[in-house]
Symmetry: C2
Subunit: 185 residues, 2 copies
Amino acid sequence: MKIEEAQQAIKEVLPEKRYLHSLGVADTAEKLAEKYGADSEKARLAGMLHDIAKYFSKDELEAIIRRRTDIPDDYLDYSDKLWHAPAGAAYVQERFGLNDREVLSAMTYHTTGRKNMTKLEKIIFLADYIEPGRDFPGVNEVRKTAGESLDEAVFQELQRTIIHLLEKRQSVYPETVEAYNDLVR
Amino acid sequence: MKIEEAQQAIKEVLPEKRYLHSLGVADTAEKLAEKYGADSEKARLAGMLHDIAKYFSKDELEAIIRRRTDIPDDYLDYSDKLWHAPAGAAYVQERFGLNDREVLSAMTYHTTGRKNMTKLEKIIFLADYIEPGRDFPGVNEVRKTAGESLDEAVFQELQRTIIHLLEKRQSVYPETVEAYNDLVR
């Protein structure tokens, strides 16, 4: 899938604000890939597409997750805010024939993370958090860390994300804690 | 095992401060059991014994964990501050022939919690946190909640404990997050 096709595809399904966020993630991911020695074209493509399923209906997301043997069923037991990530990867594979495993896994884990994340997974996970359009307490500290260490920046993002979920009394996907524990060590 | 034997056993292996903490947990657990309809004798016994292995050497704790098929091996991958809980349960079973499953599981899960906790497990978990000798920020709020709802108090303890670990950049045992998620729902 070419980057222009990806951009066109998300423009058709995302509201303006989310579309601009996706362009920001694509740019940020490309820069992080250049800095940390990952494939910058794949980073740009995964960043562009990561939220493609964000505005699919709950029913549509659930149907995708249920028919895919590569998405754990317990995903549906956790917040529906997580569903668009693996469902989006499944969708671009089914709809556009995108079969690049690195791009697909970076899309799949962009919200939860997991243990033993690939470099591209870390880059999309981080770019989603720090792209220029993001504005929340602490984002500048993580942006600064992203200029120094990819692992430390991903660690800080995991730490802050889990604390935020706990403070809001929301459930925490187990793989997110595994990702955190993995980087503690 | 009688409560007097238990008290004597911990007096022999615990320093004064930890011994007094154990008496506090036994008292608090007994009261919580009366309030929430659990067996108050078992609560007192489990509270008395919960930290019996707290001052065993790391090697001794590791040896107990390795020889027990009922303690997951991955326990040793996490903080050694967790080890005394299942090791203590194994020890009282082996050394004193204490075979009450409810008491043993309350000892085993007093530090980590787990999903689907029994009432006695919740009581020991909570009593350990709020016994009168404890003094840390927020403890009074949890004490107050403990007078109103066992589940909500355990939830608050899990929430605060996990946040505390995250802020200190320490690993979080997965069953603790499962316990938290279980009570979110």
